[in-house]
């Protein structure tokens, strides 16, 4: 059964890539992600200047399942993009550079560096829920989304992907992003959340608030993909709580053509997770009598 798929014109040998923020900020991380077997590398969100990120705790596993993080967009800055791209190319993998910024100028600045370095696409992080002045603070406003996507798209030849998060005007933001030139959407980012330790009676993340990921947000992601695909028939990369072939298949049925994995790569389990998703998807397509992923995209829209 063929699992290969094109996402904004980039050919992927299967639909599973890593989510931004999982490794992806050093040369060594790229090699590790390649060993996990992903079909494309997504870098950690890169900003113009290096960022230290927050004090620990930055990531915690929750007793109810799922993970909460507030890393604070720690990244080596745009100077590192070249090395990350070169490393991905060594493994013959497409690389999508995730970009963060406070305004369209910063996005454009990093995007140009990514294109110059040979990146295959960029993903605009318009949805990080915990970095002040970045992410969802700008991404939940459809007109700002339009401005940023337009400014970036107008100076790049490589495809622009807009990563949006859960917010009231998600479909509107998605629509504006596509009008402004985005070739695909990544849905969704982590969801703003917090965790309190009941014995010390204190919030655990140093930043207090963070982004929730993992299985608890999967139904939110499926809903977001379903709604956006229904209205816009866009190319969508599903992200949020995928941990096995079923949770990936659900996203494809909702309208995604590829998926990104983050939390399920916890404790270094990447290779096993990717392999089991791929073999599960092949078997699933066979059971449904479908010849490829293409035939499954958005199938659940026919109700």
């Amino acid at each position: 059964m063929y699992l290969d798929i094109d996402v904004c014109g980039i050919h992927l040998r299967h639909p599973v890539m890593n989510a931004s923020g999982i490794l992806g900020s050093h040369r060594e991380h790229i090699a590790r992600l390649a060993a996990y077997g992903v079909s494309a590398i997504v870098t950690k969100t890169i900003t113009s200047q290096p960022r230290e990120g927050y004090e620990t705790p930055i990531v915690i596993e929750l007793p109810s399942g799922g993970v909460l993080n507030a890393v604070g967009l720690a990244n080596p800055g745009k100077e590192a993009i070249h090395e990350l791209v070169a490393e991905a190319k060594k493994f013959g993998l497409p690389i999508i550079v995730s970009i963060g910024g406070r305004d369209e100028r910063e996005f454009v600045d990093v995007a140009i560096e990514a294109e110059k370095s040979g990146a295959d696409a960029i993903e605009l992080n318009l949805s990080c829920p915990h970095a002040k002045g970045y992410g969802i603070e700008i991404g939940s406003e459809p007109n700002i989304v339009r401005t940023i996507v337009r400014e970036v798209s107008s100076v790049l030849r490589i495809p622009v992907i807009a990563k949006l998060g859960i917010c009231d005007k998600l479909v509107t933001s998605a629509s504006r992003a596509l009008e402004a030139g985005a070739r695909a959407l990544t849905l969704i980012n982590t969801v703003r959340a917090m965790y309190i330790d009941v014995f010390s009676a204190k919030p655990v993340l140093s930043n207090v608030f963070g982004g929730l990921s993992g299985p608890p947000i999967h139904p939110l992601a499926v809903r977001a993909i379903y709604e956006v695909y229904r209205e816009l028939k866009a190319e969508i990369i599903g992200c949020g709580g995928v941990y096995d072939w079923r949770s990936a298949a659900e996203m494809i049925l909702a309208g995604a053509r590829a998926v990104q994995i983050g939390t399920a790569f916890i404790h270094g389990s990447g290779r096993k997770v990717v392999e089991s998703i791929l073999s599960g998807l092949r078997e699933w397509l066979r059971i449904l009598g479908l010849k490829s992923i293409y035939e499954a995209i958005g199938l659940a829209q026919r109700v």
């Binding site: 923020g21 999982i22 490794l23 992806g24 900020s25 050093h26 060594e28 991380h29 090699a31 590790r32 060993a35 950690k44 990120g53 004090e55 620990t56 705790p57 930055i58 990531v59 915690i60 596993e61 993970v67 993080n69 890393v71 720690a74 330790d197 009941v198 014995f199 010390s200 204190k202 655990v204 140093s206 983050g262 939390t263 790569f265 916890i266 404790h267 270094g268 389990s269």
Partner: protein
Amino acid sequence: MKPARIVLNEPIAEDLYLLEIELVEPIDKEPKPFQFASLWIPRVKEIPLSISYAELERSRFRFIYKLRGRGTRALSETLSGSFLGVKIPLGRGIDLRELRGKKLLVVCGGVGIAPLPYLVRVCSENGYEVHVVCGFRTRQGVPPIDLVFPISPHSVHIATEDCSVGYCGDALTLAKKVSKSENFDDLIFVGPSFMLKKACEEFRDVDPMISLETLVRCGLGLCGSCYIRGSTKLLCVDGPVFRCSEVSEYLAGLPD
């Protein structure tokens, strides 16, 4: 992050503390030697520490830590009875079966002694012999060996650089002497990075194991802060113990 309560937290040598915690809820998986924990001092930070000793049936874990910065200082000022959060166990640790035999020489410098008591316990339960060489700068830095090791190693050799206790010199020099007088099946070094680098050079022919320290942030294999330069390894999931040959590019980049 599991809640835990401090049972004991006291100095045992200059700038060296012994900490014992009790988990609020038990865990059922016996840790492996050299696995570590990340202790959260509420609203201060998390600090990664080797597991010094574990008594699973009582949900008790011991750590030996050195005052280094803001985190360890705050920990040293945290009173018995206070609550902490703990990620435990982290890392791969070592499986005794990957050792080349049952007679081990373990060489530590300073606070590198921390993971040894638990290693000694697991080894002695499985019929392994652990001989220990420990180096310290001065007499004030030497903790009471009986207190540190609930189960005694087969032998303990102490070295001090100021020649005030035991062998006069550093741990590596004493280790060379000990390993010449007796045969060991495998060697493990735990200590500051310059010591590990030197150990890998001086014991190159036997490719010993070394326990590395890198910046650990998330501890879960996600953030990648603890990547080992020139390899695909992450300390927090694959480490902290490696053969010298597995991390040669990393070692080459360390200062002498």
